[in-house]
C-alpha cells in the first residue's frame, strides 16, 4: 500500500473516508505499535517504549488519532512516502510522554539527527518466564491447529497469521461472512477447550 502513489486512495484518505483510513491503518499499525513498544534512539540517546500491553494500544491510538485527524491528514503532503510521516508522529508522541515523565529528550528526533527504531534491530532472545510461557502455549496452539480440518486451519492462517479482515477472508475462501465468523468462534473456543483439556493455564 503506497498512499503517495494511489491518487484515489489519497483523496479518500484526505476526506477522512473510513475505508481509506482503515487501509492506511492496516498498512502501518505494526510499525506504529512496534515503535511504541520498543522505543527508539536519537543520536544514541534511548527513548524507551511502553511495556504495558494496554498502554501500548492506548499510545498507538493517540498516534493514529493525531495522524488521521483533519489537521494530520492535511499535514501529509501526499508526495513523500507515508511511512516515515506516521513513524515520526509515533516518535513525537513517545517524546511527549517522556517529557511529561521528566525525562530529558531532544527537541526533534528527525531534524538531521541519527534516528533508529529499536524494533528494526535484531531481536534479542527473550528468556523471561512470561516469554517462555507464551512459547509453550503457542506450541500447544500449533498442535491444536494441526488437529483441525483443512478449512479451519486455513482460516487460522489467514486470520491470525496473515491478519486479513473477515471480509477479505470471505472473498479468499469463497465463503460468506457469517461462515467466517463461525470459523473464528470455532477457532477461539476450540483452542480454549484444547488448552483446558490439557490443563494448560492460558
Amino acid at each position: 500500500m503506497e498512499l503517495e502513489r494511489d491518487r484515489e486512495l489519497l483523496d479518500a484518505f484526505r476526506a477522512g473516508k473510513r475505508d481509506a483510513l482503515e487501509r492506511v491503518y492496516r498498512a502501518y499499525v505494526k510499525d506504529v505499535v512496534a515503535i511504541v513498544r520498543f522505543g527508539f534512539t536519537v543520536d544514541g540517546k534511548r527513548i524507551p517504549g511502553e511495556s504495558n500491553p494496554e498502554t501500548q494500544l492506548d499510545v498507538a491510538q493517540d498516534v493514529f488519532v493525531k495522524a488521521f485527524s483533519e489537521s494530520g491528514r492535511k499535514g501529509y503532503d501526499g508526495v513523500r512516502p507515508y511511512g516515515p510521516f506516521i513513524r515520526r508522529i509515533a516518535r513525537n508522541v513517545l517524546i511527549d510522554r517522556a517529557r511529561k515523565s521528566g525525562r530529558e529528550v531532544p527537541l526533534d528526533p528527525d531534524d538531521g539527527q541519527d534516528v533508529e527504531d529499536a524494533f528494526l534491530r535484531p531481536a534479542e532472545p527473550d528468556d523471561t518466564e512470561a516469554a517462555l510461557d507464551f512459547k509453550r502455549l503457542a506450541e500447544a496452539a500449533r498442535a491444536f491447529v494441526a488437529a483441525q480440518d483443512p478449512e479451519l486451519a486455513e482460516f487460522v492462517r489467514l486470520r491470525f497469521e496473515e491478519e486479513l479482515s473477515q471480509a477479505d477472508i470471505a472473498a479468499r475462501m469463497n465463503v460468506t461472512r457469517r461462515r467466517v465468523r463461525t470459523l473464528e468462534g470455532r477457532a477461539l473456543s476450540g483452542l480454549a477447550k484444547w488448552l483446558e483439556e490439557r490443563q494448560l493455564s492460558w
Binding site: 473510513r18 482503515e22 491503518y25 496452539a141 487460522v156 491478519e163 486479513l164 477461539l188 492460558w202
Partner: protein, 201 residues
Amino acid sequence: MTREDSARLARLLSGRDEPSVLETEALFDRIASDVAPRPWWRRPVAWGALSGIATAAAAAFLFVALPDSGEFGSRGGEEAVLRPHCVTGAETGPCTTGAKLLFDARPPEGAPHFAALAKRPDGTFIWYLPAPDARSAALGAETAVVATAIRLGDEHPAGAYTVFGVFTKDAMTRDEIEAAVGDDLAGGPGVTVVRRELEVR
C-alpha cells in the same frame, strides 16, 4: 468468552506475543470513532439507557407509542415490523420514567439483524441496540418481542421522538450501522430502516 480471552487466544494462534488482529481491529474502531467525520444525526450522542437501573426521577414523563402513521414507512422492505411499546412490571401501559421500552419486531426477508435508536426532541440520538461493544443480533422470522428491554431514565425528556429500527443482512457494530444507514438515515442495499413516532407528553 471475554474480549481479553479472545485477544489472548488470538495471540497464541498467531504465534506472536504482540497485538493480534482482533486487538488491532478493535483499536481501529476506537480511532475511527474519534476522527471519522460524523453524520449530522450523530452529533451529539447520548448513551442509551441500557444500564437497567431505574432512574428515580421526580417527574414521570408519559411516553406514548402512537399508531403507525404511514408517513414513516419502511424503505426497501415492506414486510418489516416495528412496534415500540412499554411495560411497567408485567403490565403493558404508558411509558413513564422507570418503565421498560420494548420492541415488537419482525425483520424483512434477508435482513434479520436488528438495531434500534431514537431521536429525541432536542435532536440528540440515543442508541438502544446493539450495546456499544456488541454487534446487532438476529431476530426470528415471525413478529416477536425483542429480548432486550430499555429502562427509561432521565435521558428521555418529554417531547416527540422518532424511533428507528435498522434491519441489516449482517450483524453490525454501531459504527458499521451508522455507515450503512447513511447521513439521511434512509438505509440502502441490504439495509432497511423503519421509523416510528413516539410522543412524550
